[in-house]
């Protein structure tokens, strides 16, 4: 008998298309019109429905969309805000993409980002202050990735020893990570000089990422390069191939003698490490210190970004960028149109729903 708690992800996570098949698609004659048209239609549909909801709320839609557009395109800094926000989104998406290749569903990105930030600061506290910037930052990144991989490893261990489904355990671990962060910044890591809300100490200059311009730190470059690396690794390394086999047909993987338990564990832990790196970049590039509500919602947004492109690591650059633009646009909506910035969650949800229901893969429709 199959068992929901021992078994992993979704039939559709299994249907994550191998990259090769995507290319072969153009071979299918006739029925497939202009590529990208479905996606474009989905995106347009989402904006249309969001507009209708704004009308229902009595908002001037044109003005609202203009406010969003302006807050993203006003100048180099506002566009930079999108790049800055996109960085943790992309890492959170990659944290979903890698386990999904093995048929696993990681919704613990929210917590893994936080643990990465904590790991980075822990490492910064531990290393010699005399160390120069580059080695310090590299060590912080290592600390972040190790901590977050170990954190994701808890879900792996639970799955391994007791058969607890990783979807549920990674979901619950988000709350634990949030509480751990609170415990640290209200307790032993609390900056004695902090006024108002408790925060950890302010990182010194050698623990901060170099800036490209304005508020834009080098994290965006790291993020884009990482996405491409993930794509290359999944496509060309034996490990990536095995993950694909495991996710595509676990029975075949077992018969081929793949060590599925170990493979699944590695996928989930690599996913955790990627989110951890995202957390490190956020705390060293943007925040400069830890605080309790750091990156709230970023992990779940990453899940949206990953599913919007059906777990394609390079396309996730685009979806993370789009969601980041919408999030930044939400601030414009608040300042210029007087709407709550959380309203844009509607738009993000509609985008994902459009892709899930009407996206590139032809749906089977009603059976």
């Amino acid at each position: 008998m199959t068992d929901v708690l021992e078994l992993a992800a979704e039939p559709e996570a299994r249907e994550v298309e191998p990259l090769e098949r995507r290319d072969a698609r153009s071979v299918v004659p006739g029925r497939r019109p202009i590529p990208g048209l479905r996606t474009l239609g989905s995106v347009a549909g989402a904006f249309l429905v969001f507009g209708l909801l704004l009308v229902a709320n009595g908002t001037d839609v044109i003005e609202a969309y203009q406010a969003m557009w302006n807050s993203v395109t006003r100048d180099a800094n506002s566009f930079g805000d999108v790049l800055v926000r996109m960085t943790p989104y992309l890492f959170a998406a990659l944290a979903v993409v890698v386990p999904a290749r093995a048929g696993l569903f990681n919704i613990g990105g929210e917590g893994q980002l936080l643990i990465g930030a904590i790991g980075a600061v822990a490492m910064a506290n531990a290393v010699e202050p005399s160390l120069s910037r580059t080695p310090t930052l590299v060590l912080m990144a290592v600390g972040a990735m190790a901590a977050a991989a170990a954190w994701a490893g808890l879900a792996v261990a639970l799955r391994h020893t007791t058969g607890t489904n990783e979807t549920i355990s990674t979901l619950l671990s988000n709350y634990l990570a949030f509480l751990l962060m609170g415990w640290l910044v209200f307790g032993r890591w609390k900056d004695p000089g902090a006024t108002g809300f408790p925060r950890s100490r302010i990182l010194n200059a050698d623990e901060r990422l170099p800036l490209l311009w304005g508020r834009v730190h080098i994290g965006i470059i790291v993020a884009v390069v990482t996405a491409m690396l993930v794509w290359a690794i999944l496509r060309w390394t034996p490990w990536g191939f095995r993950l694909g086999v495991l996710g595509g047909n676990p029975e075949a993987a077992r018969r081929a003698g793949l060590r599925s338990g170990r493979l699944a564990a590695s996928a989930l832990m690599v996913g955790g490490a990627l989110a951890g790196l995202g957390g490190m970049l956020q705390v060293t590039g943007v925040e400069g210190q830890l605080r309790p509500s750091l990156m709230t919602g970023y992990g779940f947004t990453g899940v949206l970004a990953a599913w919007m492109v059906r777990h394609h690591p390079v396309k996730a650059i685009g979806s993370a960028g789009l969601l980041a633009a919408i999030a930044v646009g939400g601030n414009g909506l608040k300042i210029r149109a007087g709407l709550s910035s959380g309203s844009v969650n509607i738009l993000m949800a509609l985008l994902l729903l459009a892709v899930l229901g009407w996206g590139s893969r032809p749906t089977a429709g009603a059976r």
């Binding site: 299994r14 007791t162 209200f186 170990r262 959380g342 509607i346 994902l352």
Partner: protein, 304 residues
């Protein structure tokens, strides 16, 4: 102290009782709905807003059921008609609820509502120990005492309940008998969404008596975990909801008594409790999963 904890467990757990029982019915039909969180939010805001506009918390609760149900219909449409991934769709539906309540709820933040009041049951509420725990609550809490037995009766003693379980276990058999498993699933998802909406209503207009953005704060997600925890049994589900809220009440009580432990570690107790019970769950209960739900989680990478 035990009495205070148990009172807290019932007061804080009621919204989750509604949500978990609803999600149990839903999952029994083979559909897992992470949008419960969103339905609870929709219910909370709707109950609050309608309560303010009409002055009647009961109309608010009724409207909350409709709101939670309507949002869950998005989930039903996506997963039943469009065959979309259930987990991803559920998450998107929660985002939809989060955004919509943020948009439409903006004007209601920190407005006063005519809330449900507590009514002590004459006689029974004077019982020692049990009285204050069980018989001194708001009407929705009394209603919640009946919802799990009702769901059990519905699932195991009615024809529709049988069809819902069949849709979850073996849709082909259902189709052979001339019943559309899709239609049955629509109904099950609707029940789940409606009850989640009612849970949200209880939270906003009886427990917290306020509306704030994202006030459900993960209770809906926990509800989904609790259904698995309870082995898809509506009666056990209630125990899970009270265990969770009891753990919350326990740590609040410890704090009130000035325990020398960080509140954040105490706050972690409920989550650790759920994880621990999930991990320690007996094989028998784990095998209670509806087969069609296994197909959702299927594919995988069993631990070696």
């Amino acid at each position: 102290m035990l009495e205070a904890i148990l009172i807290g467990a019932v007061r804080g757990g009621t919204s989750m009782v509604f949500a978990t029982v609803g999600e149990t019915v839903c999952e029994r039909s083979g559909v897992i709905n992470l949008g419960v969180e969103g339905s609870m939010l929709a219910g909370a805001l709707t109950a609050y807003a309608v309560g303010i506009e009409t002055g009647s918390p009961w109309l608010g609760a009724l409207a909350a059921v409709v709101a939670g149900l309507l949002l869950s219909m998005v989930h039903a449409f996506m997963v039943i008609r469009r065959r979309a991934n259930q987990i991803a769709t559920g998450l998107a539906v929660t985002f939809l609820g989060l955004g919509a309540t943020s948009l439409f709820g903006q004007g209601y933040v920190s407005q006063g509502v005519k809330a449900f009041t507590t009514h002590a049951v004459p006689g029974l509420s004077d019982l020692p120990f049990l009285g204050p725990i069980l018989f001194d609550h708001d009407p929705l809490t009394y209603l919640s005492f009946g919802v799990a037995p009702a769901a059990w009766w519905f699932l195991y003693r009615t024809g529709l309940g049988l069809r819902i379980r069949a849709a979850g276990e073996n849709p082909e058999v259902l189709e052979t008998m001339g019943t559309s498993s899709e239609r049955v699933r629509w109904i099950a998802v609707a029940v789940g969404g409606g009850l989640a909406g009612l849970g949200g209503a209880q939270l906003a207009t009886a427990f917290a008596r306020t509306w704030s953005e994202d006030m459900i704060a993960g209770r809906g997600f926990i509800a989904v975990a609790l259904v698995i925890f309870a082995g898809w049994n509506p009666l056990v589900t209630v125990a899970g909801a009270y265990l969770f809220s009891g753990a919350v009440a326990f740590q609040l009580e410890l704090q009130a008594r000035g325990a020398e432990v960080s509140i954040f570690l105490l706050d972690a107790i409920p989550y650790i409790a759920v994880l621990a019970v999930l991990a320690g769950m007996s094989g028998r209960r784990r095998h209670a999963a509806p087969e069609a739900l296994n197909a959702v989680f299927d594919a995988g990478t069993q631990p070696a």
